[in-house]
Symmetry: C2
Subunit: 325 residues, 2 copies
């Protein structure tokens, strides 16, 4: 059997993690032959609830779960970690400006970046979920110089999966008939869900739906889906966010599906003219634990314009937080 991988997870007593941890422990994220040690971080007041989560994880008798660490000390949580899922973040409170949210979370990811730099495995792979996810990932990266910056990513897979569903529903196809979906840009309302290259049952999506729907219905529906779930459910997406995390890490580590790609927010290398260094969602293929940005896609002027708007937002976020680098 393989050696266990250490998976550090923040916000571990929260709702997303209650849907996430059990799926990781069952082998859904890293494979049915890969033991894991869960290293769970919470703030001190949440430790009692976290201990209850640990009881329930034990009560599943997962064969792949080789250990659980519960702690409110980040140096313990990230020690030797091979993978980190940064789920916890400070939510936006009433009357709080977006810049305040950026700054408050920036400070958290500044601190955690330094800790990870000091105690984690040097080859650690990180997925940032807590919002503003892209810029939190950038701040973490800037404070963790020992790590490979390529390995610090943010989650747009939930948006990607939401987009796949919207297109499948619109065309009356099964979910597994939809491939080559793309989310470009920031995990925010400026994100660009793009069907330009998507396929539905082997045919171009653009031949199955009209442009009006793709631009004026599909994009805002996907970008605002989180709000629609909150309105219906009374609380924010948890199980579907957890599933996005599972898919993100699964595909990164074990490979994207043959003949398809996924969306991941990764450090821009300048592809598609995007400013280098910002954490930008691109279509990627993955193999053997490495991702590659898909090159050479043709984009309409409309999509190019939307992408530039999302890039501008990310550059602005970077400037707001530049004192945290």
């Amino acid at each position: 059997m393989k050696s266990p991988l250490r998976v550090a997870i923040t916000g571990a007593a929260g709702q997303i993690c209650y849907s996430l941890l059990f799926r990781i422990a069952s082998g859904e994220m890293l494979g049915k032959d890969q033991p894991v040690i869960l290293q769970l971080l919470e703030i001190t007041p949440a430790m009692k609830v976290l201990d209850a989560v640990a009881m329930e994880l034990n009560d599943c008798a997962f064969p792949l779960l080789h250990g659980i660490v519960t702690t409110d000390d980040s140096a313990v949580a990230f020690k030797g970690a091979n993978i980190a899922l940064m789920v916890g973040a400070k939510p936006r409170g009433p009357g709080m400006e977006r810049a305040d949210l950026l700054k408050d979370n920036g400070k958290i990811f500044n601190t955690l970046g330094k800790v990870i730099n000091d105690v984690a495995d040097a080859n650690i792979r990180i997925c940032v979920v807590g919002n503003p996810a892209n810029t939190n990932a950038l701040i973490l990266s800037k404070n963790a110089p020992k790590l490979n910056p390529r390995n610090i990513t943010a989650l747009t897979r939930l948006d990607h999966n939401r987009a796949v569903f919207q297109l499948a529903e619109k065309t009356g196809n099964n979910l597994n008939d939809v491939t080559h979906m793309t989310i470009w840009g920031n995990h925010s309302t400026t994100q660009v869900p793009d069907i330009s290259n998507a396929m539905v049952a082997g045919e171009a999506a653009t031949s199955k739906v009209d442009n009006e729907w793709a631009e004026n219905d599909f994009i805002p529906t996907v970008a605002k889906r989180g709000g629609a779930v909150i309105a219906a459910r009374g609380s924010s997406s948890a199980a579907s966010a957890a599933n996005g995390i599972i898919d993100h890490v699964h595909d990164w580590m074990l490979g994207t599906a043959e003949g398809d790609w996924a969306s991941m927010a990764v450090p821009s290398d300048g592809s598609y003219g995007i400013a280098e260094g910002i954490i930008f969602s691109y279509p990627v293929t993955c193999k053997d634990g490495e991702y590659s940005i898909v090159q050479g896609l043709e984009l309409s002027d409309f999509i190019k314009g939307k992408i530039k708007e999302s890039e501008a937002e990310l550059i602005d976020e970077r400037e707001t937080c530049s004192d945290l680098f």
Copy 2:
């Protein structure tokens, strides 16, 4: 690809199902090559929350999820169902006697049994989770004469998994080193977690722990674990209960692990001298969708006595509800 199986689930907007549905849709229960259609039943006031759950299921873009039905009409939920997971039940309220709880839930399972009898697939396999699970399953069975009574079971796999963890922790072994655990009897505090035949890393468990622990510590710890989780978590086990359901149905349909067995509450055929017909937890092996009660195990007088107590409770429950047959 295989034809989809229809999985009907009650209490679908509740906490257990929020942990359960996503794992079923991902293929954890019935296999990664088995599409499913989820047929979700709730009471009318919970339909809005259930619709939000359906939104999130869609937002996972699970390739195996070929459809979702949400309804407050049991005839719709169970129509053509191949598998039913009876998660919903009326909880015990303040000042409510156990007999009242039995009667109130008995009426629900009486009604649902008749509906399932009329509209479900004749070969439907049923796992009852809502308490009192064993007797609810019996009432359902008595009201569904067209079904094969062997296919109406109740959940003790959560207790089984809890017992595996307790023994692994006590002996300092990994969870996958523990095999041949048994839960006998009723899913209640009279249940009999039994290590008589359990193995730990290939050696008899009884050679690794003393009898005093097995009788006076292990048994009550497992039987009262649900209460300990409530005390720590502030609400009852959800993700671990969902996992027990996944394991129960997975092993039933796809087979128990080679060289091991599982615990399932099934109609007694008189094995081990238990009254025929009551739904009693036994060690079982499963293959090709059929279970067999493990025969010929040697039991101590202590375990035999405990089993008789649990049998007596189930016979008493049957009598309390006999007007519902």
